[in-house]
């Protein structure tokens, strides 16, 4: 069988004037461009942190403690966003902190997406007993409020980056599963699937080569939104000291330190909080924009 897909043919109508391609539509959405641009910059900062950060994020200098940001009385050259209570450069710590945030965003959201999608595809396409079982599991899972579940999970598996990622995956795979199942079910009714079955494609071939590509758009938007959630969850767990150990700079950890000395050095709280805010909003706006550009129903 050649590498052609009935789905792609079916989705390219030749009657209407050619609609703009997905890429062009995305590029013309200011939301997507701004939010996407921000996240690309953030990824560059995280990957290149050792080269980009002006200072060592862990280097303490008690003589330089709580130096205000540039532009405020008492600021020091070389500390653009000031220093924290131990004299560490806030800007460098924010830059290094993006590493943990993005790692959690991509790994946790990615794994939740993977597990949720596989189960969702199975439930949606195989139907019957498999569907009943998986759907029941999702219902039970979702009746457990996320806060409760995360409290329990962290109590059970302990603290650390792996636990944070595990907790997010264990809690949030259901979001993907539910959406993918619904989407798969509706795709499975479409003519192109019937056609593929008539030609004699095998079930896995239909599922992964025909149906899955049509579920991907919804999935990408959902994945982006989930990354925003994961970043917040990591920050919260770092804030209460249940995430990575305190010698790794994290936004949540910085926020917790800044919260303690907020009256003496507000910038220690403000800088990581601004970074967290911008990242969360960016992931959200990107997810919204993607959903609107990629979803054939919302697009109209």
């Amino acid at each position: 069988m050649e590498h052609w897909s009935l789905a792609s043919k079916a989705s390219a109508p030749d009657s209407d004037p050619q609609p703009p391609s997905v890429g062009a539509r995305l590029a013309s959405d200011p939301k997507v461009v701004c939010a996407g641009g921000f996240i690309v910059i953030l990824i560059v900062l995280a990957v290149g942190a050792p080269l980009i950060a002006p200072q060592d994020p862990l280097a303490q200098n008690l003589l330089m403690a709580t130096v205000p940001p540039a532009g405020f009385a008492g600021s020091e050259p070389g500390f653009l966003l000031g220093t924290d209570g131990l004299g560490r450069d806030v800007l460098s710590r924010v830059i290094f902190g993006s590493r943990v945030s993005l790692t959690v965003a991509f790994v946790a959201a990615g794994l939740a997406c993977l597990i949720g999608s596989v189960l969702g595809l199975m439930a949606g396409y195989l139907g019957y007993v498999v569907d009943m079982l998986i759907s029941w599991l999702v219902d039970v899972w979702m009746s457990f409020p996320p806060v409760l579940l995360s409290i329990l999970l962290i109590a059970v598996i302990g603290t650390g980056l792996h636990s944070v990622i595990a907790a997010i995956v264990i809690i949030d795979w259901t979001r993907f599963c539910r959406v993918v199942r619904t989407e798969t079910r509706s795709q499975a009714q479409m003519d192109y699937v019937v056609a593929a079955r008539t030609i004699g494609f095998s079930r896995p071939a239909i599922l992964f080569r025909e149906i899955f590509p049509n579920v991907v758009p919804v999935l990408i938007a959902l994945l982006t939104l989930e990354m925003g959630i994961a970043v917040v969850v990591e920050a919260i767990l770092s804030f209460v000291g249940l995430s990575v150990s305190s010698d790794t700079p994290t936004w949540g950890g910085m926020i917790a330190e800044g919260r303690q000395i907020v009256h003496e050095a507000w910038w220690v709280l403000a800088a990581p909080l601004a970074a967290l805010f911008a990242t969360v909003v960016a992931f959200n706006q990107l997810g919204d924009g993607l959903a609107r550009s990629l979803d054939p129903v919302l697009r109209r």
Binding site: V147, L152, L273, V280
Partner: protein
Amino acid sequence: MLLAVIVNRAAMALVTLAGVAVIVFVLLRVVPGDPVAMMISPGAGPADIAALKAHYGLDAPLLTQFWIWINGVVTGDFGTSITLHVYVTDVLASRLPATIELALMALFVAVVLGGSIAVVGTLLRRTPGEAAIDGLNSILLAVPDFIWALALVLLFAVAIPVLPLTGRIDPALAKGFHTRFYLAESILTGRFAVAGNILSHMTMPTLALALPLAAVIVRLLKQSLKEAMVQDYVLLARIKGFRELRLVLQEALRNAVGPTLALTGVQFTFLVGGTVIVERIFAYPGIGNLAIDAVINRDFPLIQGLVLLFGLIFILINIAVDLMVASLNPRLRHA
């Protein structure tokens, strides 16, 4: 019909709670990490450890432990907190009122704030004002309570230091209460200065919890209102010469509020979940703050009690929502 809904829901709630109880118990027993290790002093010998385990019943077989625990739960005895050395029931009872007052206050603020903005947005529809509300709201929808809380700290505790940063009430005023519902009691007994002090402590945590919910309400309610505004009955009212505000409030709102109510109920459970971190940030003495301490200290009896309590609260909220939606839906009410 309503009665059937209640009975059905109560039965399901019991099953769910029982499931939660079993899962919590099993999960907490299979974990590595010995709760007794947290309590012993450095000089304790094996005999002391054994005595301590016997004291808390941790030496019995798992099934026996579960039987003892579940018997206790049914009679309202959740055991003794390992770190606080008091009955779990007592800790929960002393902390719960603070959280109830905070959550209800936040719900109230969210509904009033979200509702008003949705109505204003509907009045301004197809104007730059509506576009501004939509644009701002799409950003606010992304901001969780955690970020709100800390932004409020920067604003009202540092930039404009008008609000107290931590606690529930000025310690000097926290006397002479008969209940733990400080706010309700001080208002009912006419101690308005005390009530004012409590409200000033509650302002920031309340706003942090209310704003995300308000954003959700704005989006959904405004959508429903706009749909209702083009219905025939609104047109008829407009022909009768009613003013626009009255059209929105009296005609459209009544028919548009259903979906928003249902969603607000579901979202209220998220708000209650949010109290965990928001109470932490403001050192507010509720059950959320307690939950984080319990996890950090691996205080198993307390964690079990808290999880069941949260589970019960979520179930009660869901039942209340179902009842409200059912009683608002004429087809269900009269069936």
